[in-house]
């Protein structure tokens, strides 16, 4: 519908445009008819007549006068020349145009040829590239497949790994559980010990308050035979009695000896002594007799007791034995109260000694070491190791902070307590069972029935005192004049150190 309408519109437009055009064309034709064509023939014939008359005139003139034909030919010649000029001009122009066109045609031919070549080259390239594309695509597909399979494997491995991890964590937990419980138990035990140690301290604090009036020396001295508590008594030079330290003892004997101890305990004015003090206490012995009755009995240790010692400055008693601990006891109203425990030795205790202040304990042990405690601590402050066999005795040396130990490995060692190092070793040639020392002398007893005296500075043997039996223990009198020795042949020997040969034997 629209198409037909537009066509009709165009037709009408054409008709419209044609009206004025037709009008003009008609008008022109009319004009020509009226103006030109009517006269054309007329004027042409007129011109020809005119020409003819002119020619006739010329001819007549020529016949009459000189020929003027050239004018005729001149006209025609000039017109001919102009036309030839024009034609030549046109010819030249046309030739030029033809040449130009030929040139352009050639150029276009060559271009076309080139383009065709180029096209064929490109087509071949295109096919090559397409092949390559296909190749690359197949390769990509293969790679992708490989990748997928590897991914699956990886996932499987991860799963197994996770499972194993879970299992391992479970096992760990199982292991750790019991260990944690054991640790908890240990902690409990340690706490108990700590509590006991604190109790010890409190005991010692309380005990130390009581210790003011005590005349006793650091060693367990033989009981002063008489003196009541309040009396200041002078000790006899010969303080002796059946009480002795024995290197080895069975329980009943020890117990009895403890009993005896407390019968005879003396209380008197005590003299405080510093460690460096060479003050010899003036103990006066009033009465001396053998103990017969035990005042108090206590089960002190789980196993056998090897050493018993009174403290020099307090009411403390230290006992040590095979159960590897030293127990501290205080005397209250005729009874023994446990004041604390010192442990740290790995094997049984052989001997105990208090230091002159009574706050420190030195012990010799089966574990080839000597141990040094402060009474506040339950753990040894210093451990002196170096002997190759059991240490049988450990003593404070008077002057400096030094310790002398005698051992079953046939050596006597002198130690520096600060450094916990052995200063000197003296080969004593025999199993040393006990050691006592004075300022310069070290006296050691041996299983080869001899008592040897050593110069502590030089380390040389100054004297040998032979005895009948194996010597088990020694004790030195506080004034360092007399030495009491006890031996296996049931003889107590008293040696006067001044006179050195003066001996008294007790059987």
């Amino acid at each position: 519908m629209i198409m037909a309408a537009s066509q009709r519109a165009r037709n009408s437009e054409l008709k419209q445009s044609e009206t004025w055009k037709r009008h003009i064309i008609r008008q022109l034709k009319y004009r020509n008819r009226t103006q030109t064509s009517v006269f054309q023939d007329l004027i042409e014939s007129y011109h020809s007549l005119l020409e003819k008359s002119k020619q006739r005139a010329l001819i007549t003139k020529g016949i009459l006068g000189s020929g003027s034909r050239p004018s005729l030919s001149e006209d025609s010649l000039t017109s001919l020349k102009t036309t030839t000029g024009e034609l030549a001009y046109q010819v030249v122009e046309l030739q030029q145009r033809i040449q130009l066109k030929e040139v352009t045609l050639d150029e276009q031919h060559t271009k076309l040829y080139e383009v065709q070549n180029h096209l064929s080259v490109l087509a071949s390239e295109h096919s090559v590239l397409q092949e390559r594309v296909a190749e690359v695509q197949t390769r990509n597909r293969l790679l992708k497949q490989e990748y997928d399979s590897l991914l699956e494997q990886h996932q499987n491995m991860e799963r197994t790994y996770r499972q194993e991890k879970l299992r391992s964590s479970e096992i760990l937990d199982n292991m750790i559980g019991p260990k944690q419980q054991a640790a908890v138990r240990m902690n409990h035990r340690n706490e108990k010990r700590v509590r006991e140690a604190s109790l010890h301290k409190e005991l010692q604090m309380a005990a130390s308050k009581n210790v003011n009036i005590n005349e006793e020396s650091g060693k367990v001295s033989p009981p002063k035979p008489s003196s009541p508590k309040s009396d200041s008594s002078q000790r006899l030079e010969r303080s002796h009695g059946p009480l002795f330290r024995s290197a080895s003892a069975t329980s009943p004997r020890i117990i009895s000896s403890i009993r005896g101890l407390f019968e005879r305990k003396m209380r008197g004015k005590s003299v405080c002594r510093s460690e460096e003090d060479l003050y010899i206490p003036l103990g006066v012995c009033l009465v001396a007799r053998v103990p017969t009755k035990a005042i108090f009995t206590v089960d002190a240790h789980e196993l056998g007791i090897n050493a018993v010692r009174f403290s020099t400055s307090s009411n403390l008693l230290a006992t040590g034995g095979t159960d590897r601990v030293i127990k501290l006891w205080g005397i209250e109203a005729g009874t023994l109260q446990n004041r604390g425990t010192l442990d740290g030795s790995n094997e049984g205790i052989t001997s105990i000694e208090f230091d002159p202040t009574g706050t420190r304990i030195l012990a010799a042990s089966y574990d080839k070491s000597a141990l040094f405690w402060r009474l506040e601590d339950s753990v040894p402050k210093v451990t002196l190791t170096g002997h190759s066999r059991k240490v049988t005795a450990a003593r404070f040396k008077y002057s400096q902070r030094q310790v002398v130990t005698g051992s079953a490995d046939r050596t006597v060692k002198i130690w520096d307590l600060q450094r916990a190092a052995c200063i000197q070793t003296i080969e004593v040639l025999s199993f040393c069972s006990d050691v006592v020392c004075s300022e310069y002398l070290i006296i050691s007893s041996h299983y080869d029935r001899k008592i040897r005296f050593w110069d502590s500075r030089a380390g040389t043997c100054t004297q040998e005192v032979p005895l009948q039996g194996r010597v088990t223990s020694l004790d030195l009198c506080p004034n360092h004049r007399q030495l009491l020795s006890c031996s296996r042949d049931d003889i107590l020997q008293l040696v006067d150190l001044r006179k050195s040969n003066d001996r008294v034997a007790f059987r």
């Binding site: 003009i24 022109l28 004009r31 006269f39 054309q40 005119l50």
Partner: protein, 288 residues
């Protein structure tokens, strides 16, 4: 389009029958006979009147001959107007042939230009073409042409060669496709009684909205009196090439097909002769 070619041919080959008579003022040896000639409408007087000169020089003494000039009924004819324009303007409604008087002396300096040789005519012709192209194409087409092309235009006119002329002239009749026509229409409106020689103004062939403008629009703008209203007697005739185109003719088409060889559309506006009737008579004449 074949119609357009016919139009062009008809325009080019339009002829006017003229009778040249020597003015009585001239002194002659013998009696000068009138010379009849078919003048081409598109050419110029001095270009085509060599034979006339020769004809009359035969009867005149050489010493009396100065520059030849023409006159019609007292009006000196300007040779630099195309012959068709002169005829339409002065003698279109008179009896044919056109009686032109030939003078050889008393050249009217104030009215006419001298024309010593054909090169003057050529110069004038080329300048008209250039001016027209300046209006149409901003002188781009004419400047792109070489000197030989210009020469070809002139030669075509001089030698009355339609094909030679139009081979070049068609380039001047082209216009860019996106525009409706020329930039401006080169035209001149001539009047007999006017102090101005002609009216020439800038006129676009396409309206700002894009409609093709017509001859009527042109006249409305520049010579509204020429347009006759219905039932009123026609006062003016609008002549181009001896015909009166309809007022609805597109001006662009007119410029392409009805312009003279100098590319100008020469419009003559003459008083309508009595008995021409009113507007309706225009239609009647076409039918007859």
């Amino acid at each position: 389009m074949a119609d357009d070619k016919d139009v062009l041919r008809d325009v080019w080959f339009g002829r006017i029958p003229a009778c040249f008579t020597l003015s009585p003022e001239e002194t002659t040896e013998r009696e000068a006979e009138p010379y009849y000639l078919l003048l081409p409408r598109v050419s110029y007087l001095t270009l085509v009147t060599d034979k006339v000169k020769k004809h009359f020089l035969r009867v005149m003494k050489a010493e009396d001959v100065e520059e030849m000039w023409f006159e019609y009924e007292g009006t000196p004819l300007k040779w630099h107007y195309p012959i068709g324009v002169l005829f339409d303007l002065h003698a279109s409604n008179t009896a044919l042939p056109w009686n032109v008087s030939v003078h050889f002396k008393n050249f009217p300096e104030h009215d006419l230009l001298h024309c010593p040789s054909n090169s003057v005519i050529e110069a004038h012709f080329m300048s008209c073409i250039k001016e027209a192209d300046a209006l149409k194409h901003k002188s781009q087409v004419i400047n792109d042409m070489q000197k030989k092309d210009h020469k070809q235009l002139w030669m075509g006119l001089q030698n009355d060669k339609f094909d030679q002329f139009w081979a070049m002239n068609r380039k001047l009749m082209e216009y860019p496709i996106n525009e409706g026509g020329f930039r401006y229409i080169p035209f001149r409106i001539y009047q007999t009684m006017s102090d101005r020689p002609f009216i020439q103004k800038l006129f676009r062939p396409v309206s700002p909205e894009g409609h093709a403008l017509t001859l009527g629009d042109l006249l409305k703008e520049l010579f509204p009196a020429a347009i006759c209203v219905e039932d009123e007697p026609k006062r003016f005739q609008v002549m181009i090439h001896g015909i009166e185109p309809l007022l609805e003719t597109p001006i662009q088409w007119l410029s392409e097909h009805l312009s003279h060889p100098d590319n100008f559309l020469h419009i003559s506006i003459i008083p309508a002769p009595r008995g021409c009737g009113d507007c309706r008579s225009v239609l009647q004449t076409t039918h007859s």
